[in-house]
Amino acid sequence: MAAAGGEGPGPEAAGGGEELELTPAQLIRSLEQAWLNEKFAPELLESKAEIVECVVEQLDHMESNLKRAKAGDLKVSVHRMEIERIRYVLSSYLRCRLVKIEKFFPHVLEKEKSRAEGEPSILSPEEFAFAKEYMANTETYLKNVALKHMPPNLQKVSLLKSVPKPNLDSFVFLRVLERQENILVEPETDEQREYTIDLEEGSQHLIRYKTIAPLVASGAVQLI
């Protein structure tokens, strides 16, 4: 089979500018990685819109191949099952992101607002539109039903202050994909001092998310 979706640009390599063609197997693996990371990270991760786009193209491609296949061909049901499984992972991934967007919407939008030019966005354009509508809808609702009937000095409630932030101190399990040296670990108790650790490739750890968040973003570790 040709690269993802046949024609069209493949997903960009993380960080780098040049475009990278992925085989369908690599594409599905990167979707699965993004999915697991998103499932276990306490905060919303960077949007992988290019991967999503390519997987969607890949699914369309497989669907149209299936339509051309003869009915009753055993291969049809195997391929159909493969489509179902990929669609499940894709849906689960996007669903997980929507849940986090709804849970943290004021913080997600704030982060997007303060994003520097050229820095990757944590939201796809569609997610950004969704988050903005969710915020406006909720603010309008609270204002109309309650806040505007309150005394003048109490008519404002900052959703940014009242909707809780993601807890970056929560602990996550991870597997190391690329060896890392001198990772600074903050003390957990008053008696402890900060110390550094090395992460060997293939080793697994239980660690505070905050400590390794940049490594999740760069793809050096996989949350499990």
């Binding site: 969607v56 159909r80 179902e84 849906s91 689960s92 809808n137 309650a146 309150m150 009242s162």
Partner: protein, 195 residues
Amino acid sequence: MAGERAVGLVRELQRAAGGHLPPFRAEELRQALEEMRALYERNQADVSEAKAGRTDLIFLIRFRHCCLLRNQRCIVAYLYDRLLRIRALRWEYGSILPNAIQFHMSAEEVEWFNRYKKSLATYMRSVGGEEGLDLTQDIKPPKSLYIEVRCLKDYGEFEIEDGTTVLLKKNSQHFLPRWKCEQLIRQGVLEHILS
């Protein structure tokens, strides 16, 4: 004690476990807002007295302000948590809610729900090619393409693929494409039978 009505709303909601949506308490909400208005007015009057020399009233003013903030917090938290429950309904029932549930919602909540539904639909149409991707489906990983289902109530004609239909009659059993049945199972029309 001030704030009792507002905290009563919160208490009732918290008792409705598992995301269940109790009836919207419009009257209690109105009374809590009324209490806030009264507290605020009395404070305005006492602020004038305090400025005129009654500094012993400052503590009382502070007390009322605490009560106002408490009322505000309880009311907003009550309304917000209800929105979270209403949001869950969209994911568990689909976009059309049974009357029994709509009956528990205020007009403004229905409006919020409709807007939420619309945003979600726009989002789902924008991902996943031509037809979009229905994210409220595929909640569990697939094991097989077709599944055995039993019909729990009379539903009528149901289209499966390419115009073929089956008649879903109470207690009838069928072998159907999984992705077609998921929503009906979650709505309690069909039951997934494991072989």
